[in-house]
Symmetry: C2
DNA sequence: GCGTAACCCTACGCACGAGTAGGTATGCTC
DNA sequence: GAGCATACCTACTCGTGCGTAGGGTTACGC
């Protein structure tokens, strides 16, 4: 039944989806939806939570803490893009719909923050183990960039059903890791002849 | 007057914003809004177009075709993040609101596609000039990743008003360019001991 | 065969907000 | 100062869609 809701929400958006259509799609009538899932808002939150939990679980299932950083990143990417490929509707709800709607933006931000923190933590751990220091903000921005890049690629994947998630993950890894590896190794880019702007 | 609309749309979202509130915020009454800007949908599209055009213009103003690839990327990033920093509301409308609403998602996708194509074109030009071949899809995914990373960092910037756009651009450049430069140089990452998956 | 209870539906009330009709003030022409 | 146009507002209509009230149907107990 949540499946029907996710499907309709993903197609129409939160406001565009009518409870009638969801009920219709689920093969039951509206009062039943209210009886089982509560109001529209609660229903949407339920969808959000289920999809969010599923996604996090899909990643957690394949990531062991004793793996190397690049292996963990690779597995996460694989799991994540595999998940998105298999649950395109769910991802569309999470990523495209929930972000704009004020009542739910908070939920989403929290989920996203957890992911960013995991990525930042991974980077930080690797950096510290090599004795390099780095500011909190610096890490956060890099983590945001990596997460955003991945989300964007996931979005691309949703619109290209013929694409192979695993191959896409490899491509993504090329951008993320080859870049990150350089950063971790201490390579950094600096602005050309202007007022020097130390990257903190 | 469009400023008021953008402000309200960014705070409430497309559906959440009432024409009354927009009119109120602009200091005029509702029929005036209809007289000048037309229906709510037209009004939103007008906002979208203005912000989109402004953004593209801000970037076009600082990018000359005779610059090196990294210089162009750097200037674009600077201009883009500077723009977002100066027009947080506008960016919120473009990025957070318009994406989810079916009637406008197309507009947005078109804008985004143009940006992705520019980035992909830049990458391709650099690659070809070094004699390397690469598939269309490969380029597209990398471009999507870079664009998504930048959008994500822009999003971060919106939520951190105290951050300096230029410094953030430098950080972003570190991720994007250091990674991209490696890719351009031919370095690539491959999955560990599994069924070999040539990155095409 | 009649009470009743679980289950589900059709059909409605009601609020909210987009878009408009009709009226009022200000200024300009002659 | 009468006629008229422009600029704007208050106050309405009307559609849409959330949430619910009240009725029908099936199955079981007695």
């Amino acid at each position: 039944m949540l499946d029907a809701a996710v499907k309709v929400f993903s197609r129409r958006g939160y406001h565009g989806a009518s409870m009638d259509e969801i009920a219709d799609d689920a093969g039951i009538s509206k009062p039943m939806v209210y009886a089982y899932l509560g109001t529209k808002e609660e229903l949407f939150v339920a969808c959000l939570h289920r999809e969010g939990t599923r996604m996090m679980q899909a990643i957690a299932d394949v990531v062991a803490p004793d793996l190397s950083a690049d292996e963990r990143l690779w597995r996460s990417l694989q799991a994540f893009l595999g998940f998105v490929g298999a649950h395109r509707d769910g991802w569309a709800v999470l990523y495209r719909q929930a972000r704009g709607e004020q009542p739910f933006a908070g939920e989403l931000t929290a989920l996203r923050r957890r992911i960013v923190e995991v990525v930042a933590g991974m980077l930080e751990h690797t950096l510290r183990s090599e004795g390099r220091e780095v500011t909190e903000t610096e890490l956060e921005v890099v983590a945001y960039a990596l997460v955003g890049a991945t989300e964007s690629v996931a979005d691309w994947l949703v619109d290209h059903p013929e694409a192979d998630p695993e191959q896409t993950a490899t491509r993504m890894m090329n951008v993320a890791w080859v870049g990150a590896a350089q950063l971790l190794a201490g390579t950094s880019w600096r602005p050309p002849n202007r007022r020097g702007e130390a990257p903190s």
